[in-house]
Amino acid sequence: MTQEEFRRQEAELDDLYRDIILDHYRHPRHRGHLDSPSATHEGLNPLCGDEVTVEVKVDGNRLAGIAYTGSGCSISQSSASMMTEAVEGKPVAQARRLIDAFTAMMRGDDEAAEELGDLEALSGVRQFPVRIKCATLAWHTLDEALNEAGV
């Protein structure tokens, strides 16, 4: 394979693996545990074996703390990392709106992507349909964790 061909294949891959995604994969944020979480939920993709466990600490109507652990592909883990940055410290209602917007974006809603900031980088995953569930795993898991926290 020539160098040029090599770069062309890599350019297509760059749509999926944007720099910010690889950065979160290599340097995950909020990876670990909270001292006294309000709720913990484990999410699992039975088909590919991706695992993400989300811990939340709710203070009144605010998502005061969030952490995650897990194992899986770069998309599942960086999506979890990016999610924690986006929702930490936000009002619970806003976190819920972000969950809705993110899942809408992954279903193909480009308008929803506009309010997502850096998270828009994950929209490239839509070109790889089998990987969409990797990207949404952490978000569904957060949704469940918030339900369990009773907010």
Partner: protein, 410 residues
């Protein structure tokens, strides 16, 4: 090369296609094989000239379709050297074949306190039916451990079975590790201890010469679609004496002799186990797949895959940080190469390789408990067949290296 691969490749139309602008390198044969023109033509010819239901009609089409369907059964019988076609039952797939045995033989013979012996390398299809049976009957399931080299820990066959062991089921070849298990030896031990033996041949029959009589298996199950044939056809070989004693699996048309409002009597073997209209067209096309494999010669198929696997293991082992699974002794190794990297997930490898036209499988390959034993969630897996070439192994290695460099810190 043992096979004329260039000639073989011309028979497979799909190998002409491109994926992401690159020639398709199809290395997911353990999942399903591609189909030669001869098999595709057999399907089309059947529907264009012969289509009819079988074992019913007195018209010409019905008679021809029945003859071709039963001719395919004879081809399968010869292919695995079964003593009689009464022992060859067509099912939907390997999974259904195993479920048939677990249901019809298992429910009549497994009792509370009995033990079913499996291995840690079981495909879920040879695991769940036995777990269901054990739960229903109050039986236990024990697993032969897998050693670090990917072979079964048989400990010289001492104490393989205990007094409670009624049934053993294991794969002929592991779909995740490529291990070829010593099934003849295990069958001899099972016979000596009066233990019933089922061999999951899903990765055996497509790749190795299989002689069920010489192996001495009580049951041997495999699928058409992994050996050049269509999807939707499986085979269960069973010893005739066992099949005769067993109750039917599914009830309906075809499997009966006489039906009244009070009850029914069963058809002869093998039709007792083939309720309803079977997958006639695909069974007939499966016959064409067997013709194709027999023309190549299964010894040659095996030799070709062994050469490719040895070459692949050699080249892959030279990639830094790679973990390769399964036996290194090529005599104990089928054409499956599972691998991992410490910092690269199998799905990311699979996506990058696809971008280079290389189709492999990533994940747990339906052997979740095995991977848990090995301390990972799954692997990337390349698997070979008759049309694969050393050049395609090179393409695999190049693409794996590209994946490594793509994910390396930049």
């Amino acid at each position: 090369m043992t096979l004329d691969v260039a000639q073989i490749r011309r028979d497979f139309p799909i190998l002409q296609r491109q994926v992401h602008g690159k020639p398709l390198v199809y290395l997911d044969n353990a999942a399903t094989s591609q189909k030669p023109r001869q098999v595709i033509d057999a399907l089309v010819r059947y529907y264009e000239t012969t289509n009819a239901n079988i074992h019913r009609a007195v018209h010409t089409l019905g008679e021809e379709a029945t003859a071709e369907y039963e001719e395919a059964r004879e081809k399968v019988r010869r292919f695995i050297n079964a003593p009689t076609t009464e022992s060859v039952i067509f099912t939907r797939n390997t999974t259904e074949s195993i479920n048939l045995v677990a249901y019809s033989w298992g429910r009549a013979n497994i009792r509370e306190g009995d033990e079913i012996l499996l291995t840690q390398m079981e495909h879920h299809s040879n695991l769940i039916p036995w777990q269901l049976l054990a739960r229903e009957k109050g039986a236990t399931v024990r697993y032969v451990p897998v050693a670090a080299d990917g072979t079964l820990e048989l400990n010289g066959f001492e104490n393989l079975f205990d007094a409670r062991t009624k049934m053993m089921a294991l794969p002929h070849v592991s779909n995740s590790l490529g291990t070829i298990n010593p099934v003849e030896r295990i069958a001899a031990e099972a016979r000596r201890h009066g233990v019933m033996l089922l061999i999951d041949g899903a990765q055996g029959a497509p790749h190795l010469p299989v002689d069920v009589h010489a192996i001495g298996a009580d049951f041997y199950a495999f699928s058409s679609h992994k050996m050049l044939g269509p999807t939707g056809v499986g085979v269960l070989y069973g010893r005739k004496e066992l099949l005769e004693e067993m109750e039917p699996f599914l009830g309906g048309g075809e499997m009966i002799r006489k039906v009244t409002f009070e009850g029914a009597t069963w058809n002869d073997l093998p039709w007792k186990f083939e309720a309803g209209t079977p997958n006639i067209a695909d069974v007939i096309a499966f016959g064409a797949a067997i013709d194709y494999l027999e023309a190549l010669g299964m010894e040659n198929v095996r030799a070709h895959e062994a050469e490719l696997t040895a070459y692949a293991l050699d080249r892959m082992a030279a990639i830094p940080d790679i973990t390769l699974y399964g036996p290194t002794d090529i005599d104990q190794r089928g054409g499956v190469v599972s691998f991992n990297f410490p910092d690269l997930h199998p799905h990311d490898i699979g996506t990058v390789l696809d971008q280079y036209g290389v189709a492999i499988r990533s994940g747990h390959h339906c052997t979740q408990p095995l991977w848990r034993c090995l301390g990972v969630s799954g692997s990337a897996r390349a698997s070979f067949y008759v049309y694969n070439t050393p050049g395609e192994v090179d393409a695999l290695v190049d693409a794996v290296k590209a994946a490594r460099s793509y994910f390396a810190e930049r």
